[in-house]
């Protein structure tokens, strides 16, 4: 994603940042006094934490969040238009790092894996810039992000493999039965057809656990695994409302591609 800033696929992550900015703009009142994400709540949650994790935790109410979210939305839009190859795009990506780090620190709770990965990518991009921003630095940045994504899927797959609920094929109907993440009607369908649940659970386990094969398998396997990844995240967004994951994870697939190509060229 850093090696090929000209690609649209390298800019998908910033679409997620625009969406986050709009969501936080809509949630401004929650950050005011009396809201569930107020400074008072953040102060309680960060009270016993190490000093470095308290930075920014209690700074700014809903108005400040709105301003920072607006800045992040505009900066991310600039990256989508210009890419991170030069000038305006690089500056806008650095602005995204600053705004995103603040928004993350200020919230203290409620973050998702997609937000975590987004922040890791932005910090990595800053390190790439510190290292000169040249071709080699960008490639190393891609290797790091590509490895992060591969490890994320692998760790998640192994964790599911160790879980009796996932192995028995009962996880999907449970998740889909919740109102927060699911579609209860679909859960009832899976309950009525348990073999479908077993198939879905094992599909996820196998795909996640075998994902590291993209590093050593043929190019067709790489393309197939990434296509399954797009399908997986799109399904999670549609069925579970995990709307930020497709942009964060699929936005890193160019880094997975560069990592796999580098391993296979050696």
């Amino acid at each position: 994603m850093f090696s090929h800033p000209e690609l649209i696929a390298s800019r998908l992550l910033f679409v997620g940042l625009v969406i986050e900015a709009i969501e936080l703009w809509m949630l401004r009142p929650a950050f005011d006094e009396g809201g569930p994400l107020s400074r008072g709540i953040a102060s309680v949650l960060s009270a016993g934490a190490p000093w470095q994790t308290r930075i920014g935790a209690t700074f700014g109410d809903g108005q400040a969040i709105g301003l920072v979210a607006l800045g992040q939305g505009l900066a991310a839009a600039a990256v989508i238009v210009n890419g991170t190859g030069a000038g305006v795009g690089i500056a806008a990506a650095v602005v995204c790092l600053c705004t995103n780090a603040y928004l993350h620190a200020r919230r203290q709770i409620g973050s998702s894996g997609a937000e975590q990965l987004t922040l890791i990518v932005l910090v990595t991009f800053a390190l790439v810039l510190v290292a000169g921003g040249g071709e080699q630095a960008r490639r190393i940045g891609d290797w790091f992000i590509g490895t992060q994504v591969i490890l994320a899927y692998f760790a998640s797959g192994v964790s599911k493999l160790l879980s009796p609920t996932w192995r028995r094929g009962e996880a999907m109907r449970g998740i889909l039965s919740t109102e927060g993440y699911g579609v209860p009607a679909l859960s009832r369908v899976l309950t009525a057809h348990p073999r479908a649940d077993v198939f879905l659970c094992w599909s996820v386990i196998v795909w996640e656990t075998l994902f590291p094969l993209v590093l050593v398998g043929p190019r067709s396997m790489l393309i197939g695994m990434l296509a399954l990844g797009v399908l997986f995240h799109a399904s999670c967004a549609l069925l579970m409302g995990l709307n930020r994951f497709p942009w964060a994870f699929c936005g890193c697939y160019t880094a997975v591609w560069v990592t796999a190509a580098s391993v296979q060229s050696r």
């Binding site: 969406i19 709009i22 969501e23 936080l24 809509m26 949630l27 929650a30 009396g34 809201g35 569930p36 994400l37 107020s38 008072g40 709540i41 309680v44 949650l45 009270a47 016993g48 934490a49 190490p50 470095q52 994790t53 993350h104 620190a105 919230r107 709770i109 409620g110 973050s111 998702s112 894996g113 975590q116 990965l117 922040l119 910090v123 992060q148 490890l151 994320a152 760790a155 998640s156 964790s159 599911k160 160790l162 879980s163 609920t165 996880a171 449970g174 998740i175 039965s177 919740t178 109102e179 927060g180 993440y181 209860p184 859960s187 009832r188 967004a237 549609l238 409302g241 995990l242 709307n243």
Partner: protein, 154 residues
């Protein structure tokens, strides 16, 4: 690993398991009630709504608030399971949830407040509810609408 993660800001050391090993099977909900002269009123819910199924694939701000509540509940139940006793009352998760409840509009004359965590699921056709945590009773100053109460249980 946990100790290292705690000291690294912004969650930069990830821990990816995505709904494993224990996938969500129920929604954690925080409910609360007020006491008037020794009589408890009906239970109300601290609820921020769920994203609409038709639009949440694109925009889902409710997820941020619900995940926040879910993070606090998970932290609370982890401590509760550790049998920490009354030191639980001083945990950030307990105080944060209590404060959120106290920020809700209260009726005049309320003298005490209590919250609970319930898990609801729709695995069958009917909604199933299970209470998994019950807070202490905290006295509040009569007529006060501020977010202050005695942390020492009454």
């Amino acid at each position: 690993m946990w100790r290292v993660r705690r000291h690294v800001p912004l969650g930069l050391i990830p821990l990816w398991t995505f709904f494993a090993p224990n996938p969500a099977r129920a929604d954690p909900r925080v409910v609360w009630r007020e006491e008037f002269d020794g009589v408890w009123e009906g239970v109300r819910e601290l609820h921020f709504g769920f994203g609409a199924i038709g639009t949440r694939w694109l925009f889902n701000p409710a997820l941020i608030l619900n995940k926040s509540i879910s993070d606090l509940v998970r932290a609370l139940l982890t401590l509760d399971g550790d049998d920490e006793g009354r030191s639980l009352l001083l945990s950030p998760a307990y105080i944060a949830l209590l404060r959120m409840v106290l920020e809700q509009p209260r009726r005049p004359g309320c003298s005490g407040i209590q919250f609970a965590v319930v898990r609801t699921s729709r695995a069958g056709k009917a909604r199933q509810t299970e209470t998994v945590f019950l807070s202490e009773v905290h006295s509040v100053e009569r007529g006060s609408e501020s977010a202050e109460c005695s942390l020492i249980p009454s």
